[in-house]
Amino acid sequence: MIEFLSQPWPWYVAGPLIGIVVPALLLLGGKQFGISENLRHMCAMIPSKVELFQYDWKSGLWNLTLIFGVVLGGWIGVTWLENPDPVAISEATRSDLAALGISNFSGLVPSELFSWESLTSGPGIILIVVGGFLVGFGTRYAGGCTSGHAISGLADLQLPSLIAVIGFFAGGLIATYFLLPIIL
């Protein structure tokens, strides 16, 4: 069983398992699936005069608990269900990334770019610090992230969410084809 679960899960298993959480949260307590709300709750914990954060962050305790669970789930996934093989990305991606100078394909992320040591290098700082900042800024500006817009929003047939998702892809393509070749 463990051996079976330790293999990478195919898309047609993972996708529905993620999607079903949207109705589960609604039925459980009328809650809407949106992970990036937690970033806002964390801002609301900091005493400030910023209007956006003037509310009781404890109203988001359920979501903060959920995200704490995600950390635990990640730990369970790697501790008991670890897949010893590298991520099975396509040959084309592998060679594209190798051309950008990435040589270590052994983990979930390229260790040369995502480690504490990499924070002393330009590319590491841009990918981790600048990338993280853009995610946090962009998600609040757009009013949601992959969960709130791409999954919950599209499921509710919201046009604003479709526009946001097109934006997600536009930004991702710009970063992939124009920024990464300069950064790496």
Partner: protein
């Protein structure tokens, strides 16, 4: 029923379990992998599109069912999903594009950032702190940005 608003810690338990479940699904489906995100933006595999597409399909069918049958949640409160305010639409494409830039650079949207920390990629704590700083900066600049 709905007035016994939850201050009991037990009400949080289902959310903790859903979070754990998510962390495992994110990890095992490799959506938290920077390599997978690159593969997606290079259109070199169906994997991520299949995951997002089938997640949306399952969510869409069940949300439409909840709306049409006017389902109530466990507390007996009718489930309402407030529509998003379109405004000029600027915030959606501009905010979305900024988010997308960050998504491709870090290879992680907010959920996966937390799952990666659990996976032992502890440097992602820095990305999370940075994302909180980004959200805070948006809060400060909000009145001066086009929405």
């Amino acid at each position: 029923m709905s007035d016994k608003k939850p201050n009991r810690p037990m009400y949080l338990l289902p959310y903790l379990l859903i979070g754990i479940y998510f962390g495992i699904v994110f990890t095992k489906s490799e959506v938290i992998s920077w390599f997978r995100i690159q593969e997606m933006f290079r259109f070199q595999s169906f994997h991520m599109y299949g995951i997002i597409g089938s997640a949306v399909l399952v969510a869409l069918l069940s949300v439409q069912w909840i709306k049409r049958t006017k389902k109530r949640d466990l507390d007996g409160v009718e489930i309402v999903i407030p529509p998003k305010d379109m405004g000029t639409g600027t915030r959606y494409w501009m905010g979305g594009t900024i988010f997308g830039l960050g998504w491709a650079l870090t290879g992680a949207c907010p959920g996966p950032m937390f799952a990666l920390v659990g996976n032992g990629i502890t440097v992602m704590v820095v990305a999370i702190v940075s994302a909180v700083a980004g959200t805070f900066t948006y809060g400060v600049l909000r009145s001066r940005l086009p929405h």
